[in-house]
Symmetry: C2
Subunit: 328 residues, 2 copies
């Protein structure tokens, strides 16, 4: 089929996904040069992120449908980290000529699946052919109905909270890469990497003004925490023992003989959980929402890990920790 | 420099471009997961388009700065075709490892230049490294302060209007490809391809309700007109002799011995002019705005070209015209 037919087929997939057009009403039908959304708050929140074959997904580790799903999920996660309710998706597919139409439609099915799952319509996009690897570039638009918890918002005395189980995504990927038979026994870990679930359920915390700063931990818990510390001009002390590692992750690491579970939990990335800085008054609501308190914001700069009373300083994902020298 | 430093440098370029944050005010500072815009109308218009090295630009035909500029201009053109005032830009750079930092900054300078020229701030983005060609993927957000002139809006009896000089972009490209010495003598044509000027100046026509349907002619005048006809369920009769071809284009085609000037004008693409369907009552305003009337919308379907009393039917950019057979 030619490019226009392919686009028609994709548009039909997206339209049939059943994602509703809630308050953020869509005005122009798919196919025009642009789409119009009406955020109930009057504020549109925008984010964009690209997934590249061989870098962010790999077809020996996941299906094309997974890749499509994942491309949407990671963008919605950035909206969740802003407390913004998703209103629409723009899908830009940059495809090698070798990718068959049926494969493109598989990506489309994964996107349609995420669109339905998270109830966000695809409202536009484009297809480009190149000689390079497949790129799925997504823009997600949200309705900023409440405060956004900017990276710069953390305050001294705030608690540091995390949702879910950091490390699940990175362990899932490691199992798929190196221990495929063990991976089959841990579908939840595999799914954490292949089909992450953005924490849109936490958006009400932002609406209620309970969040000072937030970020998702897609680049790794410590690296992303570092972004908050830098933007807020503050130090975060992380209580390593308080980080909720899943039983699945512990068991899988034991079975597969993965020696660096701690490292994967702290810096593995590929988790679409939220890290939140919240004032003490927010504590009961954070606990209610299932978040775990894993540290405190203090005067200073950077990220420190506290373990058995010893503080180590985080110096980046590569050389990641060094014993803190108070004299330096 | 590492990726974060490169991003910092780019963000500084964009912040220093001087593009103002007009009514579409509030923006979370560059560097957060997402940006927030406040369209005065409450409606955000979104469009996205990617430029690929070797497909939409080529470094033997334009500079990296031109590529950056062009990537912004083509997206703003899609907003202009919706009558939407630009409020912000998201920049997604997908780069081969071989592209040096200084080259990335050149692309950034072109983007900053367009951002300043058209007074639209860059409000977010991301960088990804791949093995493939350079891709500049842009999302533009606009403020939909008036009607959008959807493709489906053309009515029987509407006049067909075009801005500027169709063909300039395609001729400019042809000169650069095949007649570089002649190209130097026609900077306006070359610039029409390298640094197109989106027709944001025509947005007030939409605000005043003078436009039934509009599209830019980036895919070629006839192909894009075909999109309006299909969406509106209508026939467009184009008076070929009325299409305003620039003196530069005529002269350059003569000097370079380009035999298919007509074809480039009708189907060349790479023009960022607007094609507008407008009711008869809009006529004086269209003339005032410098548009040329090049045809009429009639009952029927598809696009027909009228030349010396003969009607030919447009059947697509490849086998583009065939003598109309009224019996078929």
């Amino acid at each position: 089929m030619d490019e226009f037919e392919l686009i028609d087929r994709l548009v039909r997939l997206f339209d049939e996904s059943g994602a509703s057009l809630p308050d953020g009403v869509l005005v122009v039908p798919n196919g025009d040069d642009a789409a119009v959304v009406r955020p109930s708050s009057g504020l549109s929140t925008l984010t964009t992120d690209a997934l590249v074959d061989g870098v962010h997904f790999a077809l020996d580790l996941c299906s094309l449908q997974d890749a499509g799903f994942r491309s949407i999920a990671v963008n919605l996660s950035d909206l969740a980290a802003m407390g913004a309710t998703p209103t629409g998706l723009l899908v830009s597919l940059i495809l090698p000529p070798s990718l068959a139409d049926c494969d493109v439609l598989e990506i489309g099915r994964g996107i349609a699946c995420a669109s339905a799952r998270f109830d966000v319509p695809v409202i536009g996009g484009n297809i480009t052919r190149t000689s390079g690897p497949t790129v799925i570039s997504i823009t997600a638009c949200g309705d900023q109905r409440g405060p956004c918890g900017p990276r710069s918002g953390a305050r001294i005395g705030d608690g540091l909270w995390v949702s879910g189980h950091p490390g699940d995504g990175a362990i899932g990927l490691r199992l798929l890469q190196s221990h495929p038979l063990i991976a089959e026994r841990f579908p939840r870990l595999v799914s954490a990497w292949r089909r992450p679930q953005p924490r849109l359920d936490l958006i009400p915390l932002f609406h209620r003004g309970l969040v000072d700063a937030a970020i998702d931990i897609s680049d790794g818990l410590l690296a992303d925490l570092g972004h908050i510390c830098k933007a807020s001009g503050i130090l975060a002390a992380v209580d390593k023992g308080a980080i909720p590692v899943s039983q699945d992750a512990i068991q899988a690491a034991r079975m597969a003989g993965i020696p660096d579970l701690d490292r994967l939990v702290l810096t593995g990335g590929d988790d679409y959980q939220l890290l939140i800085a919240a004032p003490p008054s927010s504590e009961p609501f954070m606990i209610d929402a299932g978040l775990a308190r894993i540290g405190t914001f203090e005067p200073g700069a950077g990220v420190e890990i506290v373990e058995s009373g010893v503080r180590n300083r985080f110096v980046g994902n590569r050389g990641w920790l060094h014993r803190q020298d108070r004299d330096s």
